[in-house]
């Protein structure tokens, strides 16, 4: 391990003469190798799923899970897609996540404007409340919500899930955004006041545009979290037409019609949208991090 101590120096050297340098330190390749094996272990399950989702059942039976598919067999995916009406589930998930993220960002902004910038009386208690609301397990809310939504005829509709998640996500958003807004540049607020802008105009014309990067990060988080939610949608969305993607896939486990290739097909179409969001999420996150670094 003594060779490692000089790592920062070798960085500049390795730029000029990588070959010479790398041969001198085999330890770094051992470290890299160990990490690569670990990475393979993490990614392997997903690769195996992708491999077998496009394999015919007979191919799987004779050649096992690790063989390359003899031919691309899309039937498993197509059959499963049609059987569960997957387009409908995608649409349900998309509508729920999009509406929740927009509404939850708006609600978080309103709360945080009053708490972070307005510093209304008792704001510490409000913040403690939103912190605790964040911690609560959904189990402690589920039965009354189930009961109330039934008596309001909102049970088994996307509407109930949208309301509930808007409030739950905004509890986190309020907590985070209040601390961001507490550091909001006073000069901007004073300038708006000098221009005669009222509370709402200041919020809409100054606070929201300036904090847009943070709001974008919040929006992305809310979207992905809502998309991935399982417990409450499982309880609230019982009819097939209303299910979201995770619920539709989750309740099918143990179904007799599910064999090895159908299961991996179902897993793959559950993975793909999430991967897509991951790529989008990556960009927002990097932007958020670099924005923080400049400040």
């Amino acid at each position: 391990m003594t060779a490692l101590a000089t790592a920062p120096d070798t960085r500049t050297e390795s730029k000029t003469s990588p070959g010479v340098n790398r041969r001198r330190y085999p330890a770094r390749y051992i470290v890299l190798g160990v990490l690569l094996v670990l990475l393979l272990l993490v990614v392997a399950p997903l690769l195996v799923v992708a491999l077998n989702a496009v394999k015919s059942p007979s191919d799987y039976a004779s050649n096992g899970p690790l063989s390359i598919p003899k031919s691309l067999h899309w039937d498993g995916i197509v059959d499963f897609w049609q059987r569960v009406d997957f387009s409908r589930k995608l649409l349900n998930s998309f509508i729920t996540s999009a509406v929740v993220s927009v509404l939850a960002v708006i609600l978080s902004v309103l709360n945080a404007y009053a708490l972070g910038i307005g510093r209304v009386r008792g704001r510490v208690w409000f913040l403690v409340f939103f912190l605790v609301a964040n911690l609560l397990p959904q189990e402690v809310l589920v039965y009354p919500l189930y009961y109330l939504s039934k008596s309001l005829h909102l049970y088994d509709s996307l509407f109930s899930i949208i309301i509930i998640f808007t409030v739950i996500q905004s509890a986190f958003g309020t907590y985070l955004l209040s601390s961001v807004y507490a550091e909001f540049p006073t000069e901007l607020l004073d300038a708006a006041a000098v221009d005669g802008a009222g509370r709402f105009r200041t919020l809409w014309r100054v606070v929201v545009p300036v904090s847009r990067p943070t709001l974008a990060v919040l929006f992305t988080f809310f979207f992905i979290w809502t998309w991935n939610e399982f417990f409450l949608p499982l309880v609230f969305l019982i009819s097939n037409a209303n299910q979201t993607v995770p619920v539709a896939l989750g309740v099918l486990q143990g179904d007799r019609q599910m064999d090895a290739t159908t299961t991996s097909a179902s897993a793959l179409i559950g993975i793909l949208p999430a991967m897509l969001f991951f790529l989008i999420f990556q960009r927002t996150l990097t932007r958020g991090i670099t924005a923080g670094a400049i400040k």
Binding site: A5, L35, F130, P137, L141, N228, F231, P246, Q253, A274
Partner: protein
């Protein structure tokens, strides 16, 4: 307070109204109702019957309740302790070794790869592993058979002896990326000069890791440990999809136990008592962590 200057706080209160009303309806009222129902016997139909602490005394004599909390302790190990420690080591290696020697691009590829399981819906990770660990057509047993290790193949999720350990392994896989991402972003705060000074003093990588990295990363360390511990206490989705608490309650957890009582056994009062205990536990734990953290920060100053 001085930054407020001449600006008044009047007129801001209105902006809290929608948030407060919505929180009352969706969080406060249901929370109070659940705590109230936990002192009653109720099937969900008709009116609840007040029974005082009966549900709680029953709870403390219910071996399934204790078993579910025992399982949670092991899941905290798998979801909080192991990923946090392993994640800390990996984040430090990626940030401070791989990024410097092979370039930051390598480090970020590793980071994304390890983080991948975190972006999948919980239910989907359950499907992936439910299939891989399936006793007859699952990939793992098929692979073990094909390399002549069929003696090692097991009914991973169906045998009470192995089910919880299988779930634990899946959870380590699932959680590992979160601490890595958190710690790597925390490491960016550290002044590179500190590392250079340590190098000049002749400190090795391990010494630097122990004395600089671990010390400076403390805020992230607390956040990661508390969020992952709470996530372990709340675990539901993976259990529902992988094992449904079975076989013979070998993977029963409090949230699934509560769900069963609410929606399968129509014992709403008992289910409410379970979730109330779980909630108290989570809130107390969070505040203990918070206290420890602030005390630690004060000591640092």
């Amino acid at each position: 307070m001085s930054r407020q200057g001449g600006r008044s706080t009047a007129g801001f209160g209105w902006y809290l109204v929608p948030g407060v009303l919505a929180s009352l309806a969706v969080i406060v009222v249901p929370l109070v109702m659940t705590v109230g129902i936990s002192f009653t016997r109720w099937s969900g139909i008709g009116s609840p019957v007040w029974v005082g602490f009966e549900n709680y005394t029953r709870l403390f004599h219910d071996e399934r309740f204790w078993a579910s909390f025992g399982h949670i302790l092991l899941l905290i190990l798998a979801m909080a302790v192991v990923p946090t420690l392993l994640g800390l080591l990996l984040a430090a290696v990626l940030f401070d070794y791989i990024a410097k020697i092979f370039g930051p691009r390598w480090a970020s590829v590793f980071r994304s790869g390890f983080y991948l399981p975190q972006v999948l819906p919980v239910a989907v990770t359950g499907i992936v592993w439910g299939w891989i660990l399936h006793p007859s057509y699952g990939a793992l047993n098929r692979i073990l058979d094909s390399v002549g290790l069929s003696s090692l193949s097991r009914n991973w999720l169906g045998d009470p002896k192995y089910a919880l350990y299988s779930v634990m392994a899946v959870m380590v896989w699932f959680q590992l990326g979160y601490p890595i991402v958190m710690f790597m972003s925390g490491l960016q705060r550290i002044d590179p000069e500190l590392y250079e000074a340590a190098d000049l003093d002749g400190a090795g990588w391990w010494q630097r890791f122990r004395h600089i990295t671990v010390y400076l990363i403390k805020p992230e360390f607390y956040v990661v440990l508390v969020t992952t511990t709470i996530a372990a206490l709340k675990i539901f989705g993976q259990i529902f999809v992988l094992t449904r608490g079975g076989p013979s309650n070998a993977t029963l957890v409090p949230s699934y136990f509560a769900w069963q009582n609410f929606f399968q056994k129509a014992q709403v009062g008992y289910g409410s008592a379970i979730s109330t205990v779980l909630t108290v536990l989570i809130v107390v734990l969070a505040f203990v962590f918070l206290r420890l953290q602030t005390r630690d920060e004060r000591k640092g100053v």
